[in-house]
C-alpha cells in the first residue's frame, strides 16, 4: 500500500535531512511512501480570523491533490505543515459556506473537496498504524545509552483539536525513543515555544527561548534534542550560538529530527542521515555512545 506523503517546502531545501530520513526509514518499515503530486505551500501558519477563507485555499488545494491521487489520507512530518493542513481541514469541515467558496474558486479542478481527507502526522501514524512493537522489531542498531530530550514545540499538541497526544504532557516521542532502544529524559520545556518566526524579526527572543529550552535539556544530561519541526530545528540548532551569548555556560547540543534517529537505528547510511546539514555536528554525541 502506498502512503501519500506531503513533504512541504523546507524539507526540500534546508531540512533535506528530514526528507531523506523519512523516506528511507519508512522503506525499512515496508511502507511505500509516494510524494504528493503537484503539492504547494501548506500556508505555514493557520490564520486565526473566524471568517477567513483566503488562507484556507493553499492547504485545501493540497487535500484536493490527495483526492486526485485516489487517496483519502495524507502523511506529513513537518509540524508546521501538519498543523496548517489539519486545522484548515477541520475548519472547512465545520464551515460549509467557506468550503463552497473555495470549491468555486478552484473550479478548474474537477474534484470538489468535501472535507474527506484524513491528515496524519508521521509520529501518530507510527504509533497507531504501524505500532511501536513492530517498529522495535526492525531496529538493527539500538540507540543504547543515548539520552534524548524530546521536544514537541507547539504545533503537534496545540490547539486541542489537532493534538494526537496529551496537550500538556505528550509521550509519543518518548515512546518512539524507547522503541528505538534509547533513553528519553524528563524534559520540562518540551512543549514550550521556541520563538518561531521571530527568527526573522527579533533574534533576542529566539536566543532567550533557545537558551531556556536547551538549558532544560542540558540539566537532564541529554546527549541530543529530538524535534519534528524544521523551524524549531533552526532556532534550537542554528541559533544556539546566539543563546550561548546570553548564557556562556550553555554547552553545544545537537538537534536531530525523529526520523534521523529512526533511520540511524534501522541501520541506514550517511546518505539517509545527512548530518552535514546540521549546525552543531551530531557525530561526536552519537560516537560517544558508540552509535556511529
Amino acid at each position: 500500500m502506498k502512503l501519500i506523503y506531503y513533504p512541504g517546502c523546507t524539507l526540500k531545501n534546508h531540512a533535506r535531512n528530514f526528507d531523506v530520513s523519512t523516506v528511507s526509514s519508512m522503506a525499512k518499515l515496508d511502507v511505500e511512501v509516494e510524494e504528493l503530486d503537484r503539492w504547494n505551500c501548506c500556508g505555514t501558519v493557520h490564520a486565526l480570523g473566524a471568517t477567513n477563507v483566503m488562507n484556507r485555499i493553499a492547504p485545501v488545494t493540497n487535500l484536493v491533490r490527495v483526492k486526485q491521487q485516489q487517496a483519502n489520507e495524507v502523511m506529513t512530518t513537518c509540524a508546521m505543515c501538519y498543523n496548517t493542513l489539519k486545522r484548515a481541514n477541520i475548519d472547512v469541515q465545520k464551515r460549509a459556506a467557506a468550503l463552497e467558496t473555495i470549491n468555486k474558486f478552484m473550479y478548474l479542478d474537477e474534484v470538489d473537496y468535501q472535507g474527506d481527507v484524513a491528515v496524519h502526522h508521521l509520529l501518530e501514524y507510527l504509533r497507531d498504524r504501524i505500532g511501536f512493537d513492530k517498529l522495535s522489531a526492525r531496529v538493527k542498531k539500538p540507540l543504547k545509552g543515548l539520552r534524548v530530550a524530546c521536544y514537541y514545540g507547539c504545533l503537534l499538541v496545540r490547539p486541542k483539536e489537532v493534538a494526537f497526544d496529551d496537550v500538556e504532557n505528550p509521550t509519543v516521542m518518548e515512546d518512539l525513543v524507547t522503541a528505538l532502544g534509547g533513553t528519553p529524559v524528563p524534559f520540562a520545556q518540551k512543549t514550550e515555544c521556541c520563538g518561531a518566526y521571530h527568527a526573522v524579526d527579533n533574534a533576542e527572543i529566539v536566543a532567550d527561548r533557545t537558551n531556556k529550552i536547551m538549558s532544560g535539556a542540558t540539566e537532564q544530561q541529554a546527549d541530543v534534542a529530538m524535534v519534528s519541526c524544521p523551524l524549531c530545528a533552526f532556532n534550537l540548532d542554528f541559533k544556539q550560538p546566539d543563546a550561548r551569548r546570553l548564557n556562556p555556560e550553555l554547552q553545544p547540543m545537537p538537534v536531530l529530527y525523529f526520523t534521523q534517529l529512526m533511520a540511524l537505528a534501522f541501520g541506514c547510511g550517511e546518505d539517509d542521515l545527512r548530518f552535514d546539514l546540521h549546525h552543531i555536528d551530531p557525530k561526536p554525541a552519537l560516537a560517544g555512545r558508540g552509535l556511529i
Binding site: 512541504g8 505555514t44 480570523g49 514550550e192 526573522v200 527579533n202 527572543i205 524544521p230
Partner: protein
Amino acid sequence: MSITTARISSAQLKSAFVAKVQKNSDQKLLACYQCGKCSAGCPMAAHMDILPNQIIRLAQLGMHERLLASNAIWTCVSCMTCNTRCPKNVHIAEVIESLRDIAMRNGRRHEHLTIGDVPAETRAELPPIAMISAMRKLTS
C-alpha cells in the same frame, strides 16, 4: 507612585472596535474573569510590554489606542498555550490576531515587518517556513 484614573463609559464597551474584535476573533471578551493563567504560562510574556490578560482587559474596555500601540500584539506567535489553559475557554491568541489585523488594515496598510529591512545574511540563512510565517503574521 502616580495614580492613573481610567474612565470607562458604556459607549466604550459597546464601541465598534470591541464589536469588530469580537466578530473577527469569534470570542466573547467578557467571558474573561482575569485569573491570569494565560500570562503565567505565556513563553513570550517576558518580552511583552502588556501581558495577555491585560490585553483582554483593555479589549473589553475598548481601549484600542493602547492596544494597537503595544509591542505585545506583535510578540505573540500564536503558540496557543494560553488558549489550551484558559478556564473560560477564551481564545486569547485569536483576540491578539484580530488586533494585529486591525493595526495592519486600519483604512490603509501598515506593515509591521518590511522584509527588505531584514539583513541579507539573515534572509539567506532562514528556512522558507520562517520567512513565510513571519510575512503571514506581520504583514498585511
